[in-house]
């Protein structure tokens, strides 16, 4: 039994490495800026969805407020760069740390709630953050902050025309989230978290410390989400509350994980590979005139996938295997 799990986990690592190499090579033959941008955004959201998955999937806490950590991570690295000259390559770790810290602060009151009560509380907390940033002059208020261009540099993560460096930055980010999820799956923490997700009372009776488990998951999840926000801000060269802290964004972060397959290694990535291009393409081809067709398609896809594939798109591939002690893997 144990041997089989080790073998499976090793195979996942190999598949991950192959995918990583493929994604390293992917942009090389593509010269088109639009397509490269699409790939970068998709990989970024794959990483963000994986970060969400760590709390929402493995630990079962459905957060609809991850935009808060994303935005705060972005603001921290941006302000450190603009106000103090700290290079974003370092600043993004600071953004991640603050994001994780804020996730702990949010978790402290909210983790007493469960189910829908928790989900709504996270929406509200994120909205408070959004409104405060909107009215806070130091961070530029509703106008936001422009990041001045200081020449091509890896340290500053700034490139005037090239997209390729950003591709590798988001790829490294997504790979890090995947590796974190992989480590969690095999660790004692991962088992505790899944126990918390499946049955809090049973978990507690087995000696799982429920509250610290949720807090640990939130901190890791918040860290990566904040880091993603920092990378995003640097990529677009601009940050404001509407683009980085809105409730809409919180959904965009959670959806790939939910529709791809929650609590799985590959679900968030699959979800992002399908949903992000879908939303970007339909927006640029159908949403230009504000006609709303893109939203209709997006909403319809969410409803259909959620009802037809409750275990996520991943279940289409029969990749879901019975994880030890978790009641999943049933052929959906």
């Amino acid at each position: 039994m144990d041997n089989r799990i080790t073998r499976r986990r090793r195979r996942e690592l190999v598949v991950g490495a192959v995918l990583l190499v493929a994604l390293i090579l992917l942009p090389l033959p593509i010269g088109d800026v639009y397509t490269r941008n699409l790939i970068i955004i998709s990989i970024l959201f794959a990483g963000l969805a994986q970060a969400w998955n760590i709390l929402g999937g493995y630990c079962g806490q459905i957060s609809l407020g991850h935009s808060l950590y994303f935005g705060i991570g972005g603001y921290v690295s941006t302000l450190l760069f603009v106000q103090a000259g700290v290079p974003p390559l370092i600043g993004m770790f600071a953004g991640g740390l603050v994001g994780g810290l804020v996730a702990l602060l949010v978790g402290w009151p909210c983790f007493r709630l469960s189910g829908h009560y928790y989900a709504i509380a996270t929406v509200v907390v994120a909205e408070i953050g959004y409104l405060l940033f909107l009215n806070w002059d130091f961070v530029g208020g509703a106008m936001g902050v422009y990041i001045p261009f200081k020449g091509d540099s890896w340290l500053a993560l700034q490139f005037r025309t090239q997209k390729l460096p950003y591709h590798y930055v988001v790829l490294a980010f997504a790979a890090a989230t995947w590796l974190a999820a992989w480590c969690i799956e095999g660790s004692r923490w991962g088992f505790s978290w899944r126990a918390v997700k499946d049955d809090v009372v049973a978990a507690r009776s087995l000696g799982v410390r429920v509250f610290p488990s949720k807090m640990a998951a939130a901190a890791i999840s918040g860290f990566f989400t904040g880091m993603g926000g920092a990378i995003y801000a640097q990529y677009v060269g601009y940050i404001d509350p509407d683009s980085t802290m809105s409730g809409q964004l919180a959904i965009l972060i959670a959806l790939p994980a939910v529709l791809g397959g929650v609590g799985t290694l590959w679900g968030p990535f699959l979800g992002a590979a399908v949903l992000t291009p879908l939303s970007e393409l339909s927006r640029s081809y159908l949403g230009g005139s504000g006609r709303g067709v893109d939203l209709m398609i997006y909403g319809l896809v969410i409803v259909v996938v959620a009802l037809a594939r409750p275990a996520g798109l991943l279940s289409l591939f029969g990749l879901r295997r019975r994880a030890k002690g978790a009641p999943d893997g049933s052929p959906a």
């Binding site: 709630l113 829908h116 907390v125 409104l131 939203l295 909403g299 409803v303 049933s330």
Partner: protein, 290 residues
């Protein structure tokens, strides 16, 4: 001075009653079957557009179309239950998330559809029996559309209370208490759920029509009201009608006072702040049953 204070307090009350009625529909559905309808704000928005269309093309006053729109929304609620929610309830894996995201997807779809049909710009109903009129009593200005909206909200609450005393209301209550046991005493659970959704949607429909009398109509108008409704419901206690009423008025007052004393753009921050505080000391809300 007294007039200013009264003006603020009454302004808060008038808005608070609308919040209360929007929340009542949400609370009803949540209490009944433990589902949060994330498309609740979009149902309200549809009711507002229905009122707008009836006003623009048929020349009907918002007050006259109240029953029509309420009936339309009732049908829509039943339809949503039969078409989507009943399916979401029968899912065996990952049910909690499926329920959340089905209504979320529906919300995005409805918003897109409204944008497709009506365009994104703001519209308003600016003629009618009450439109733009104010009464003045002792130095306090009372915008008549809002006064009418508040009265209708109170009537709607009385109606909901009356319904809860009927046979159907008792069946609702019994289904809420134990959704499996009710089958034993001959209550068709599925039918009760469908009617519950209809009633919840009709309730928010009434709120939407009255709101349309003095508020802008646009595809994204629902999002903000829905957020306040979630807070109202959580504050008042999930499933409690009285809780929704008290919490709605409380939120209206907090908003009005914050806007008057501090900064209008921060009015919601204080509302959400109070919600967080209540959450910490009384997670089930003011009137919530455990």
């Amino acid at each position: 001075m007294t007039a200013i204070i009264l003006q603020v307090v009454i302004g808060g009350l008038l808005m608070g009653l609308i919040y209360a009625l929007v929340a009542a529909g949400l609370s009803l559905i949540f209490g009944l079957m433990d589902i949060v309808n994330f498309a609740h704000g979009e149902l309200m928005m549809l009711a507002m557009f229905a009122a707008f269309v009836l006003w623009q093309y048929a020349g009907l006053d918002p007050l006259m179309m109240l029953p029509v729109v309420a009936l339309l929304l009732f049908g829509l609620g039943v339809l949503i239950y039969r078409g989507l929610i009943a399916r979401a309830l029968s899912v065996s894996f990952n049910r909690g998330m499926v329920q959340i995201f089905v209504t979320f997807g529906l919300a995005i779809f409805i918003r897109g559809a409204a944008q497709f049909v009506f365009g994104g710009e703001f519209k308003s109903i600016n003629t009618g029996w009450l439109a733009g009129r104010t009464a003045q009593i002792g130095g306090v200005y009372l915008p008549l559309p809002q006064v009418a909206a508040s009265l209708v909200c109170l009537v709607a609450f009385a109606g909901l209370l009356a319904i809860s005393r009927t046979e159907f209301g008792r069946a609702l209550e019994a289904t809420r208490e134990d959704r499996d046991a009710v089958a034993l005493i001959g209550i068709d659970r599925d039918r009760i759920f469908a009617l519950g959704w209809g009633l919840g949607a009709a309730t928010v429909g009434v709120a939407g029509v009255m709101l349309a009398g003095f508020y802008y109509v646009a595809p994204n108008v629902g999002a903000n009201f829905a957020l306040i409704a979630y807070v109202t419901v959580a504050l008042g206690g999930f499933g409690s009608l009285l809780g929704a009423l008290v919490a709605g008025v409380l939120i209206g007052e907090v908003e009005a006072v914050t806007a008057a004393l501090l900064e209008p753009s921060l009015k919601q921050v204080s509302v959400f702040g109070i919600y967080m505080v209540v959450l910490m000391f009384r997670p089930r809300g003011l009137f919530g049953k455990l």
